[in-house]
Symmetry: C2
Subunit: 155 residues, 2 copies
DNA sequence: TATTTACCCAGTAAATCACTTGGTAATTAG
DNA sequence: CTAATTACCAAGTGATTTACTGGGTAAATA
């Protein structure tokens, strides 16, 4: 698993798309404006996302991008793997020169940990994040006029 | 959170240290040999780990590295943060130009997800991984002479 | 004293990041 | 039909990171 800033850009952009794409497609120009990501870099990211059919583009005026499938069917792991190209870390592949002996022990341990992290991210969907955001909004609305705690998030 | 190959090298090396350091220090040369990581690169990584007091070096013949504290007190997040330098992703910091409006929504969403991933890795210790490995060894010993399933992990 | 280790620093080819520039193709509005 | 708007595509680029080589010095042991 690889989780770099590139993957973060992709996740952030997809979140933007999920939140703003309820009624009609969202242009890359909008996402670029919203998230402060350069248009061409977004194009690169969305080319990868399109290849994995996580988004669907519509050309012409009024065009833009839709999610390729339901937000509940797109996991964070899906997004990151689309743009970040899963790299196999251990060169031994499990059964090469270092298999059997104590040599490869940490390799398999890392592989276990790695797939655990992957499963963790695979179990969080875009839909989850959107719903989480809606809940937060409800919380804020039900406890309005409480603006003083803007500083209490530094911890 | 940033999870690159560099962090993986560090985690793998620390795992090696935790497994082989039961009786006496482990030299970087051994870890280099075991894990196929160049000696000088290990030195760089261990300089960072030493700064965070995750390892303790002993010079001279018979020297090497000890864990800086109990394996149970070293989390995977500790290790990765030591070598990979936590980078704040959202430039807005939560209350800059894009605060309030819908603009920063995905930023805070990402921050939530990010800290969730961090907590996940913070709750896995080196000790956990070592014990996981011991359990696996016991399993293998209790079900010996079953070697045929070496291919069944391709999926 | 010689060896072994950690420790330190400068440099480097290759890759990656995030971006710019300059297009072409499809679709819609006028 | 024309012009505008969007996705789509490709080449290049400075800055940074990666993983490494090579050159040391400092401390500890045999």
């Amino acid at each position: 698993m690889r989780l770099s800033t590139k993957g973060r850009y992709a996740v952030t952009a997809m979140l933007d798309l999920a939140l703003n794409g309820k009624n009609g497609p969202v242009t890359l120009a909008e996402i670029s404006e919203n998230q402060g990501i350069s248009l061409s870099y977004l194009e690169q990211l969305f080319a990868a996302l399109r290849n994995k059919e996580l988004v669907r583009g519509v050309r012409g005026p009024g065009g833009g991008y839709y999610l390729g499938k339901s937000a509940d069917d797109i996991s964070i792991a899906n997004i990151i793997c689309a743009v970040d190209e899963w790299v196999e870390f251990t060169r031994c592949g499990g059964r090469q020169n270092c298999s059997g002996g104590a040599r490869c022990l940490t390799h398999t341990l890392w592989d276990d940990l790695s797939s655990e992290i992957f499963n963790f991210l695979a179990n969080i969907s875009l839909g989850d994040l959107v719903r989480r955001n809606l809940n937060k909004k409800e919380d804020e609305e039900s406890s309005l006029s409480v603006v003083a705690n803007a500083d209490s998030q530094a911890a």
